[in-house]
């Protein structure tokens, strides 16, 4: 990873982390409602993928999608406004946290249905293939989603049509309150790739360099017309499944253990070791992102609610093709 990319990945991770810490804070202050699923602890996966995709490439995301959106170029202010259901949000307040999309920038959307977005990445990849471009599509989804039928159907289709798509399973050890090994018949979800004749790789999802290697290989494969790849990124979410989760299903020790593997801290140490950023520069970056997020909060809080008179707008596209 070149220095510039390292810095980009770092800033992206930090933005995701601070965006979500802020969202949690606002939720606890009752300034924000609904389902808010935080990816704190998992930032490396989204950030590295985002760094290696171009604006014209596509992603599909999940209920836990803030990180993916930010990594694909979403502005924290419009994202935060969406979390608050404001008119200025990415979906004009119609979608909320679980549906942030920015189709023009290649983010085909978060998706509140587990597995629901996986085939959309196939479709974007098919579209690229039919139009003859070199675009690739990435589908993010969780360990839980890998037990839904749509996972199976999508991977099979991607493989037979050699679609330029990359399936990234963020195995954060739980589907809601359910431990992955209690409902998943294989230890590594990546082994399922063999059932679709595609490469499947287990990666330390908290290590940006391990992610880099896997993602670059998969992108090359996609662009060389060789078809899809399944990457299983082992990672962990530090916060509850949702804001308010009693977390009866895991121990504090387990959470603390994983916090020692913080992807951001790891990268900060690496940057210091390699003299990429000094401690002062790291602190300055924190300050910069803090400011960005504070501005996002302000923007969101000062944005208007949607006008109820517009509630029936945009059910259909009106006008000519």
């Amino acid at each position: 990873m070149d220095k510039q990319t390292i810095l980009q990945v770092y800033e992206t991770m930090l933005t995701i982390r601070k965006f979500e810490e802020k969202a949690l804070h606002l939720f606890e202050e009752n300034k924000l409602r609904g389902s808010v699923h935080l990816s704190i602890g998992q930032e490396a996966v989204a950030a590295v993928v985002g760094a290696y995709l171009r604006d014209k490439d596509y992603i599909t995301s999940t209920h836990r999608g803030h990180g993916h959106a930010i990594a694909k170029g979403a502005r924290p202010d419009k994202a935060m406004a969406e979390l608050m259901g404001r008119e200025t949000g990415y979906c004009g307040g119609r979608g909320g946290s679980m549906h942030i999309a920015d189709v023009e920038k290649g983010n085909l959307g978060a998706n509140a249905i587990v597995g629901g977005g996986i085939p959309h990445a196939n479709g974007a990849a098919l579209s690229a293939q039919l139009r003859g471009t070199d675009q690739v599509a990435v589908s993010f989804f969780g360990d839980g989603a890998a037990n839904e039928g749509i996972f199976h159907e999508t991977l099979n289709i991607a493989s037979i049509w050699k679609l330029p798509v990359i399936f990234i399973c963020e195995n954060n050890q739980y589907g809601m309150t359910t431990a992955v090994d209690s409902v998943t018949s294989v230890k590594d979800i990546a082994v399922r790739a063999a059932g679709y004749d595609m490469p499947g790789e287990v990666v330390d999802g908290n290590d940006v360099f391990a992610m880099e290697k896997a993602v670059k290989k998969a992108i090359k494969r996609a662009q060389d017309g060789e078809g899809p790849t399944l990457i299983e990124a082992k990672t962990y979410r530090w916060k509850g499944h949702w804001t308010g989760d009693p977390e009866v299903y895991r121990t504090r020790d387990e959470v603390e253990e994983w916090k020692t593997k913080c992807p951001i801290k790891r990268l900060e140490k690496h940057m210091q070791d390699k003299k990429i950023l000094s401690l002062e520069q790291i602190e300055a970056t924190h300050t910069k992102i803090d400011k960005l997020i504070d501005e996002a909060e302000e923007f969101a809080l000062s944005s208007p609610d949607p006008d109820p008179a517009t509630v029936l707008d945009n059910v259909y596209y009106e006008g000519d093709k």
Partner: protein, 326 residues
């Protein structure tokens, strides 16, 4: 009688039926340690173990199909949907399989199966976690459809559902779980399907409301009363079978009806109820039956917009006055 929350009433009936009938068991997502997102299976796994309170993978079609196979072979599964919005991923198993097998097998199969879960607004969950799905199950024959609006009804109807030898779609409401009421302690307390409840007596207009809308209809009725209009409020409690008689009896008296539900108005069960009232009670009607339901858009996340989509107390109030030509 014990005062219970709607969610606890449900939990307790499941527990009692599991105690008295070893063939009853529960499957679903996050129902074990967590006891369900809304607590409807709280502590059941502690009492009945992991065999009878089974946490499933996120694979709704798979576990509904598994439930069907179990029901065909002597068990009585209760299938838990965290959100009924997820029925879509299992729709083939529900509507082509569970609903149809008995008939297609010439009656030589029995499917004692309860599918239960919650739907509707109230948690800011946006379009795919706030919708209402009852109309799918009233259109395609094979399920019975219950929709309790109070804790006591939830208990009585759920017991009937679990003891019924047919697939039952049992539709709870997330915004009702915290409501509480006196619930009979009798472990055989059951409310038969197909018997509407008259929630309020009135002579001027009949308001037929389901689930969360029952409370709003009652509020509207109070307001109407202050204006000299006495509304009769009827809660059908089950949509299939549907107790048309109770509604007709009321409309014979009032000559006017408003039907209100939270599901989309277009092709919602209100259309069916209004049509049946017209067909059987045309001669009683002094005004067309008016229907209220969600507007024709996906449920929006923004609370301001959500409130504009689903019928509120004022909408019911207005509609009742409209049919009274006031």
């Amino acid at each position: 009688m014990s005062r219970k929350k709607y969610s606890v009433a449900i939990r307790d009936v499941i527990a009692e039926e599991m105690r008295s009938d070893p063939s009853v068991f529960v499957m679903g997502e996050d129902i074990g340690a967590l006891g369900g997102v809304f607590g409807c299976t709280r502590d059941l796994q502690k009492e009945f173990g992991k065999n009878r309170v089974r946490d499933t993978p996120i694979a709704e079609a798979g576990y509904v199909g598994t439930g069907i196979g179990a029901a065909l072979t002597g068990m009585r599964p209760i299938l838990d949907f965290m959100y009924l919005d997820f029925v879509y991923v299992a729709m083939d198993q529900l509507l082509n399989q569970a609903a149809k097998l008995r008939y297609m097998y010439g009656g030589r199969a029995t499917l004692p199966l309860v599918v239960r879960g919650q739907q509707g607004i109230g948690r800011g969950n946006a379009g795919t976690h706030s919708q209402s799905v009852e109309a799918f199950f009233t259109h395609i024959p094979g399920f019975k459809v219950a929709m309790p609006s109070t804790a006591s009804d939830a208990a009585g109807l759920l017991r009937t559902a679990i003891r019924d030898n047919n697939p039952v779609m049992f539709i709870e409401h997330k915004a009702l779980y915290a409501s509480s009421e006196e619930v009979p302690d009798d472990p055989n307390f059951a409310i038969p399907f197909g018997k509407a409840a008259v929630r309020r007596q009135g002579k001027d207009v009949t308001i037929i409301a389901t689930s969360l809308m029952v409370g709003r209809a009652l509020e509207a009725a109070e307001a109407l009363s202050k204006e000299g209009i006495e509304a009769e409020v009827i809660d059908p409690r089950t949509l299939l079978p549907l107790d048309l008689d109770t509604m007709l009896k009321s409309i014979e008296k009032t000559g006017r009806a408003v039907v209100v539900h939270e599901a989309h108005k277009n092709n919602g069960v209100g259309a069916e109820i209004a049509s049946q009232i017209m067909e059987a009670g045309f001669k009683f009607l002094d005004a067309p039956v008016v229907r209220l339901g969600a507007k024709a858009c996906t449920l929006p996340f923004s609370l301001v917009l959500e409130n504009a989509v689903v019928p509120g107390v004022d909408d019911i109030h207005e509609a009742a006055k409209q049919v009274c030509y006031k």
